[in-house]
């Protein structure tokens, strides 16, 4: 079995579909470690990708006014137990264009793997980008994942991002996202992570509402058990009239796990408004009892609540 087949096998195992790679109407980029295994551009989308000494460098541009019918599929991984993958990615969604990206980061047998993503994203005026990234790190907790992104959203643009790592071990995860939203731009950052063992989770997300009537939401859902740790920092700045932002963090903690949440809200314009809420604790007793009143055991009830929160 070659590397592409192995990667696709892992993709299928976590609910993805390798069939999209055969679809000529769907753009994709697949890489194992520092090797690009497959790529395709489609009309209205330009893709440059090359292998570098460190990993992969890619540039994706969706041309002005183009609204891609199918999501762009990105699949990155390291199939070996040890390895390193550094990805440098530039994405530009030009004026009034729209695109969805579905990214899978797969490290099924990782024992000591470094995965670093350094992305620069520009969503121009009136453009829209939806980015959904799902990770699978295998059972060993041997991945160090460092996703970093700097995003700029132009006037009336939309940037929605979802990060999910809820199957298998996490290892060490350090997310660092920063978004600047222009006038009437909308941005939503959602992260869902389930940590076990001695997993260490650190999520730092920042939204700067720089333009008038910009909207921002940072939503984080984390469950941790055993001796895992989580430190969540959500920062929102309201710097323009009519800007509205919200930071919403919920963490469920079990066993000896330790969680912290640091919501930072900063307003420099009196006509802006930023709010936050954070809840950390064990599974809500009333939720638990409600499900047990339906006949679920305590263990089943906890599973339903945690899975629901991370969905």
């Amino acid at each position: 079995m070659d590397a592409l087949e192995q990667l696709m096998q892992s993709l299928n195992a976590i609910g993805g579909s390798e069939a999209v790679l055969a679809d000529p109407a769907t753009a994709h980029l697949v890489a194992d470690g520092r090797a690009i295994l497959s790529r395709r551009a489609v009309a209205g989308l330009e893709m440059e990708a090359r292998e570098t000494a460190e990993g992969i460098s890619a540039r994706v541009v969706v041309r002005q006014g183009v609204r891609l019918a199918n999501p762009v599929h990105l699949c990155f991984g390291v199939l070996h137990e040890q390895g390193e993958q550094r990805i440098r990615m530039e994405v530009r969604i030009e004026k009034d264009a729209a695109a969805s990206f579905v990214a899978h980061c797969l490290f099924p047998g990782a024992v000591k793997v470094l995965h670093a993503m350094d992305a620069t994203v520009v969503v121009e005026e009136g453009a829209a980008m939806h980015y959904a990234e799902t990770h699978f790190h295998g059972p060993h907790g041997g991945v160090e994942a460092l996703p970093r992104a700097v995003v700029s959203v132009g006037r009336g643009g939309r940037y929605l991002s979802e990060f999910t790592l809820t199957s298998g071990r996490v290892g060490r995860l350090a997310i660092d996202y920063a978004v600047t939203a222009g006038k009437q731009a909308v941005t939503e950052l959602t992260a869902r992570v389930f940590g076990h063992g001695d997993d260490a989770i650190r999520i730092t997300e920042k939204v700067v509402l720089a333009g008038e009537e910009a909207r921002g939401l940072i939503k984080t859902r984390v469950a941790i058990e055993n001796a895992a740790t989580a430190e969540i920092t959500g920062i929102t700045e309201g710097n323009a009239a009519g800007a509205r932002g919200h930071v919403d963090c919920m963490e469920i903690v079990r066993d000896q796990a330790v969680a912290s949440a640091i919501p930072v809200v900063r307003v420099t314009n009196p006509l802006a408004k930023v709010t936050h809420e954070a809840a950390i604790g064990s599974v809500d007793k009333r939720q638990l009892e409600t499900l047990m009143l339906h006949g679920l055991s305590p263990e089943e009830a906890v599973e339903v609540i945690v899975k629901g929160m991370l969905r």
């Binding site: 809500d284 939720q287 009892e289 499900l291 047990m292 339906h294 929160m309």
Partner: protein
Amino acid sequence: MPLLEIRGLSFTVGTAKILDGLSLSVESAEVHALLGTNGTGKSTLAYCVAGCEGYRPTGGTILLSGRAIEREKIHERARRGITMAWQEPVRFEGISVAQYLTLKNRELDPAPYLEMVGLDPGRYLERMVDRSLSGGERKRIELASILALSPRLAIFDEPDSGIDMLSTREIINVIQACKANGAAVLLITHREEIALIADSASQICGGRIVCTGSPAEVAAHYKSRQCRTCDPGECDHGRP
């Protein structure tokens, strides 16, 4: 033999007697209303019967079909057929209405139960049981979930709170549907007009049953507000 029989139930927090030797019984296919003002022990009784954590009786016994259940956990009692609709149902992220109604039985078609509480399945089944629902919608879904469970004993804790008057009809439908299925219903309320749909009723005051009879009789006694004075602790109702 009554389906639910409560004998001399006591529940104490510190030195406060919340339930004070309370006795009550409900037959299968009987709706029994429990009337009482705020702070008289109605919800505490519901939590003790359902088996909620922290509500283990300090005295007395709870029998379901003659079997003592007061030492069983909440899910063990649920599996015997006891369930309860909370006064203020909780919300769940990531759980759809369809999933919520079929937690116990994945094969169940949840649509008819939503229709019984006046909700359009086409609009609600895929919605989440989260904060996007209004208080009234969430309450109706809770009532639908009770129906879907087909319980032997259904406890409704203030089912009319948070629901507009027009929807009272749907609450009554749910209670009557439970009864038609053979369930015993313990209907906890402080509104006389809700109690009047029951087959029998009791008034609770100071953690004791002070009056049992037909709903009309008990409602009349309750409406006389004789036990209002219990709140400051001056009433002797229920005392030996």
